[in-house]
Amino acid sequence: MSNREENALWSIFGYLLSGLIFWGGIGWALDRWLGTGFFLLGGLLVGMAGAIYLVWLRFGRD
């Protein structure tokens, strides 16, 4: 695997993880606060979508 591919691989992994941690975390906190159960799932989905958008912006555009 070339260095460039290695870079892309780990960047994508980092983005996906960060998206899930941040927005999933916010959803989880909202669920705890409001006593609901759907914000965690929503947050995870939003985080995943944002991360995939970022991956596309960085690696898919050119």
């Binding site: 260095n3 290695e6 870079n7 780990w10 992994f13 980092g14 983005y15 993880l17 960060s18 998206g19 941690i21 941040f22 927005w23 939003v46 985080g47 979508a49 944002g50 991360a51 958008y53 970022l54 912006l57 960085r58 555009r61």
Partner: protein, 262 residues
């Protein structure tokens, strides 16, 4: 499986390897600075220094085998890692990358060297410290190169995106650069070394225990040892790969911080 372990634990007292096997007591009295991992790290520093001092001392145009070995490692880090990844400013970072690579590699390989047989990086604090060094260096380099305002702005705002999308994207970028990167860097190294050492313990201690059992178990024992030996070679590969990946990602992060746009 569970019941088998418990059964043998009741019989002869086989204790399956666990994370407790990584918490070794101090070797000299109560001094907490003399545990095996710390002594091994010290030993690795001495070995690396002696090796490269000796191999570069009588440098000749036609190198001896010893000099050639030392220079190959140096050339690998300088050319394949630093120059190819970072570009024309690479020379400044070669000392750090070279130290990082040899240090991690030596300590990882200690995991399969007979009698030493412990990878210090399976204690999470060691990779944490290395990741903190990398973290500080690549942010410092980026701030020095571009100024703090521009550097932070470039991390936070990807160009060519509708303004509303920044609400969604900026937190992800911040978490990536300041949390996920150092965390994955250290945890990948730690987890690989931890799991590898545990795997070897399972097969070799297990084989040893089978050997003490009844005749049927004795016959199985060689297979456990054979697996242990096979896995030792596999571990050697993982150990080299992890040292390489840690150094490569450090170089990539530095390159990213130096680049004008990411």
């Amino acid at each position: 499986m569970r019941s088998l372990v418990r059964f043998s634990a009741e019989g002869e007292g086989f204790v399956p390897p666990s994370s407790n096997d990584f918490n070794l007591p101090p070797i000299f009295g109560d001094n907490a600075y003399t545990t095996k991992p710390i002594l091994l790290v010290g030993l690795s520093v001495i070995l690396i220094s002696v090796f490269f001092l000796l191999s570069s001392r009588k440098a000749a145009i036609v190198p001896s085998k010893f000099q050639f070995a030392g220079e190959s490692v140096y050339a690998f880090v300088r050319n394949d890692l630093a120059r190819d990844v970072i570009g024309h400013e690479f020379m400044r970072f070669v000392p750090y990358l070279f130290t990082l690579f040899t240090f991690i590699l030596t300590n990882n390989i200690f995991g399969i060297v007979p009698f030493l047989q412990f990878p210090a990086m399976s204690h999470v604090s060691f990779p944490y410290v290395l990741a903190i060094f990398t973290f500080v260096i690549f942010h410092y380099v980026g701030i020095r190169k571009q100024g703090i305002g521009k550097y932070v702005k470039e991390i936070m705002f990807m160009p060519g995106v509708p303004k509303a999308a920044y609400v969604l994207l900026t937190p992800i970028e911040i978490v990536t650069f300041f949390l996920t990167r150092p965390l994955t860097l250290s945890l990948r190294l730690f987890a690989n070394m931890f799991a590898g050492h545990l795997l070897l313990l399972v097969f070799i201690l297990g084989g040893d225990h089978l050997l003490k059992g009844v005749i049927g178990l004795k016959l199985i024992s060689p297979f456990a040892f054979a697996f242990g030996i096979g896995l030792t070679f596999f571990e050697f590969m993982v150990q080299c790969l992890q040292a390489y990946i840690f150094t490569l990602l450090t170089a990539l992060y530095i390159a990213g911080a130096l680049a004008d746009e990411h």
